[in-house]
Symmetry: C2
Subunit: 703 residues, 2 copies
Amino acid sequence: MEDAMTRTDAGPELATELPDEVSTPRDAATDSAKLEVDAAWLGEYLLGRWAEERKASRALASKPEFQFVGDLSLAEHRERVLAQLRLLVENDAVHRAFPVRFGGGDNHGGNIAAFEELVLADPSLQIKSGVQWGLFAAAILHLGTEEHHERFLPGALSLEVPGAFAMTETGHGSDVASAATTATFDEDADEWVIHTPFRAAWKDYLGNAALHGKAAVVFAQLITKGVNYGVHAFYVPIRDADGAFLPGVGGEDDGLKGGLNGIDNGRLHFDHVRVPRTNLLDRYGHVDPDGEYSSPIASPGRRFFTMLGTLVQGRVSLDGASTLASKLALHIAITYGSQRRQFTAGTSDEEVLLDYQRHQRRLLPRLAQTYAMSFAHEEFLDLFDQVFSGASDTPSSREDLETIAAALKPLSTWAALDILQEAREALGGSGFLAENRLTQLRADLDVYATFEGDNNVLLQLVAKRLLTDYARKFAKADAGALAQYVAGQVGEAAVNRTGLRQLAQTVADFGSTARSVGFVRDEDSQRQLLTDRVHTAVAELAAKLRPASKLSAVDAAALFNRYQNDLITTARAHGELLQWEAFTRALAQVPEGDTRQVLTWLRDLFGLGLIEKDLAWYLVHGRLSGKRAEAITAYIDDRLLPRIREHALSLVAAFGLTPELVRAPNASGNEQRRQDEARAYYATLRASGEAPVDEKALKAAKR
Amino acid sequence: MEDAMTRTDAGPELATELPDEVSTPRDAATDSAKLEVDAAWLGEYLLGRWAEERKASRALASKPEFQFVGDLSLAEHRERVLAQLRLLVENDAVHRAFPVRFGGGDNHGGNIAAFEELVLADPSLQIKSGVQWGLFAAAILHLGTEEHHERFLPGALSLEVPGAFAMTETGHGSDVASAATTATFDEDADEWVIHTPFRAAWKDYLGNAALHGKAAVVFAQLITKGVNYGVHAFYVPIRDADGAFLPGVGGEDDGLKGGLNGIDNGRLHFDHVRVPRTNLLDRYGHVDPDGEYSSPIASPGRRFFTMLGTLVQGRVSLDGASTLASKLALHIAITYGSQRRQFTAGTSDEEVLLDYQRHQRRLLPRLAQTYAMSFAHEEFLDLFDQVFSGASDTPSSREDLETIAAALKPLSTWAALDILQEAREALGGSGFLAENRLTQLRADLDVYATFEGDNNVLLQLVAKRLLTDYARKFAKADAGALAQYVAGQVGEAAVNRTGLRQLAQTVADFGSTARSVGFVRDEDSQRQLLTDRVHTAVAELAAKLRPASKLSAVDAAALFNRYQNDLITTARAHGELLQWEAFTRALAQVPEGDTRQVLTWLRDLFGLGLIEKDLAWYLVHGRLSGKRAEAITAYIDDRLLPRIREHALSLVAAFGLTPELVRAPNASGNEQRRQDEARAYYATLRASGEAPVDEKALKAAKR
């Protein structure tokens, strides 16, 4: 295989590879313009399985009372969002995921779908409602038993008891297992003693903690009879009816934040606060009146991850909300870019921004990425629903769900920040005005990159899983077989089992496919390159880390640390592959026709864009020749960008974002009106014969 | 040369190339720890030529009354910053650049140095004072004559007349030449008639326009006797003593923005507003009472660029302020990263964040970049001072200054956003708290990427200059010579003449240098690779764009557009080379010793980081083999990061940012105190014998 794809295998030029192709970007655009995207159909397709729930939530988000307004004080914004939560309750918008007897529908996927759409109204509303019902109430539901549901869920659901989700501590964020708050069982009193031993153990960054919370689900080390059984969740009242802290409870306001200021984040600490034994949410760990601990899950490690796994919906919803914010940003920037004109390009008319190659390069690959995120999220949400509805709730499917969450949440939350920023810059100065929304959305979504699991930490979880799968696969392989694999042999032994589906395709005859005509635009070639990227990197890392098993703990840690960056970039490549596969599967369901053709170009732009971004890897590993690499870039510039540009407005129209959801003046058509007025003015002036002569023309005439 | 550096020339492994080197990252760190950086000396060195002005400005920025406070309403923040401007006047902090007779010192470099330091207090203060004295008053100074100085400067300097700089229009930002506002001369009245013909011609985003401005320097098309002489500047009163618009003047408030809300940005429009003939700031274009136009610069194009060139200081100061904000961000993140512990790495102790490779990869290359930005800015400011003081004011030096401004301002403004964001994420949830300052700074600096010239537009100016220089150089060369050049022949004919100094070094015997021992860490090799990157890209682009001269205007524009992205990435590479050269020149002035050794590693990290970022280009063009490429990454990971990590705190200490300037609780040592307290607690607990037994240990014991 190395022979077939060495770096000196330059291959034919793209022009001769694609004889049936048009020859200039303008020709590509002209041909593409003959196609018509069915934006209405595509819009429904994008809404996916939970279209009804999404539409219901968008109807709420379209109402001014749910929407962000600027220039509120911290206190005013917090009050406004609290009132919006009450409105959600009044609108029966918060119960979907809960049991029927509490007014819910056991509809887990639909609940998240509806919830994430609230980001279009105000991310503070999305996140504060997420704290109340997606974390606080959900912890009661998933970590508690029926007795807890009866006692605590009604108040949580009705918002009679606003609650904090007290997991993170000042000293421990993503490393939940090391939380330092203790819950020690007092047999005599049949009570838990919740205690904060030092400042770093204060619970921190908790929504509802600064002001509105009446209770908290507190994560603490469960200690009984002198044994620490690890982190468990306890229901702890924190404030009385007047809003004063209960005895032993204290706290601080986190104050102003970079965004999400509609949420009253704060700190909590506990000085030997006592709650009844039965306030332990004990689905996964129970303590008898005599202090004996029992659990349905014997392994402390597996128990911990099972408990945390019930809270994966936070990551699901951030992935979805980030995708929605990206859609909104691109709707705004592409609308404006299709109307705004600046500088001339060979004629007296100024050029539309989106006709500039650079502007296409800035926005269209991000449009392709957003489609990939959207299709990947739909599959992710479906798997989440299967697990949480019980339709397919196995340890293996839960583990897959965790891994996919850890792979997709970092990619989409980072992508949203990048896309919001590029959109803001693409609007120039007007992008910096609050009225065009991009800056505020970016400020709010900033923290998505580090909460619900720091992105860099999550990607390491993915890498760990990739290595584990690899090790399982090759447990019986000898060193020689491994070395051969590492040398680049990517045969049928696809190691990557952590896909949205199992990646079972054979990576066959890599070399000859790569040589074929039309290589760069071929779906199978994209798949092979992207898959091989992940497989080979995993195999290389496994080989490099193999000595760790024979080293001391400290030396093994140092060895892992030496490759930490590679581990994370490999996990990222894996996540990108998941997105590409989801896009490709979604594409396969689109009926033959113009829409499918345009979406195929968009998928190709996503896939080839990933390869282009990681080009050095493919070159160093001999997977692409320099000529082929250049052909990919030329294909993007000459074909894909001009073709997709023709349909950019249709592709954002399919996001279905109505004016009430967009609310950005510069995506309203006002720029088009300004341009039309200006052009009409100059046309009239020229026709009048009274236009001033240009000095340059005058000089030329005098010569 | 191609032969010497083909992609199949793998070269020896790094390990054998560097036999005298230590063998693991830990060894590299241990050896490096023996060195000591002289942070005090380095601090003075970084302060540079205008150290006194910087210190004076930092003293002001250290006072609470100049500093940003959170949770102010829009109105309150605007009033606060206006009051701060008055305080600056009282502190004699605004006159430095102005003539002695107005209380100034004709100190152009020192003025900018002092002014940009204000970003440490509040970017709104920096920018609003920039509007008043760096744009409004500076336009009077540079575009007006002595008569204007006498009439208008005293009020502008004293802040008796807050002024707007009315250049940008809603419809035209970076394309100033196309501004649509007109100033038509009325001979009978001896007056200018300032007029806004349509909505897109409203002046927009102007500081001081919404509220405080009493006058404006308005840029408008100068029309007299039926001839349009292009954009000129006019002094136009806009509000009366009570703050009401004068007759014919109207406007709107731009409202809330993504940041910089201490500045009252707004819109202005003019309905046949009359000002005396003498209100034309007529240093570069004069109109007689009989309406005859005259100018010391005959060429309309050169006249326009000369007038705009007098305002380059905006770009200089954004470059400096971005560098300072980057220093502050890294001070905060590296301080915190040196104290914060999370997860264990083979011992019972948790690991310090900055000992993780990923954390080093996130922060240390950005530290190197910030040093490069700092040294490049110092040279840039020096050239600015030479031009504006008249010490070296030639058309050529002005042209160089413009090009360097257009190259450096995009790089540093984008870098600041990237660095502020990475620092914010490196602080986890605490980075999102306003008290740690990173989110607010990022929000404020966001607009730096698009004002004072959109970054993408500026980089195209740089590319244009590179191509022009190339064309001049090869004006007499035949096609064969060009083709040979394009094929990769980088000999003595260095085309890149737009450096901070002329890049006159001979790029000699590229191949044999590349083969030598220690290739990857060699200064000359870095220079050759980085220089060749720019030269070759320019030559390739020149060849691709060569047919344009024979095409119609429309087809030529389409051809340029096809390579617009390449033009911009080439300009970016040129800017990076300027930064690398400035770093290298600054390094040459550092006395032999430990500090120089550590700075050399830092410069290498910057240079090799640039090569790594652009690796695909070097591979595709056969400038590096795959093995060499991998050796660069390994050298960064095994040597440079662990070595520099040992001195990271000293390297940020040299930024000289005192607690009053930093003002971020999590860079104050509080994290260290929390860590110490937590560790002491656990040590005491273990010593007491009363620590709970871990469940896992218990299970192991029971087996």
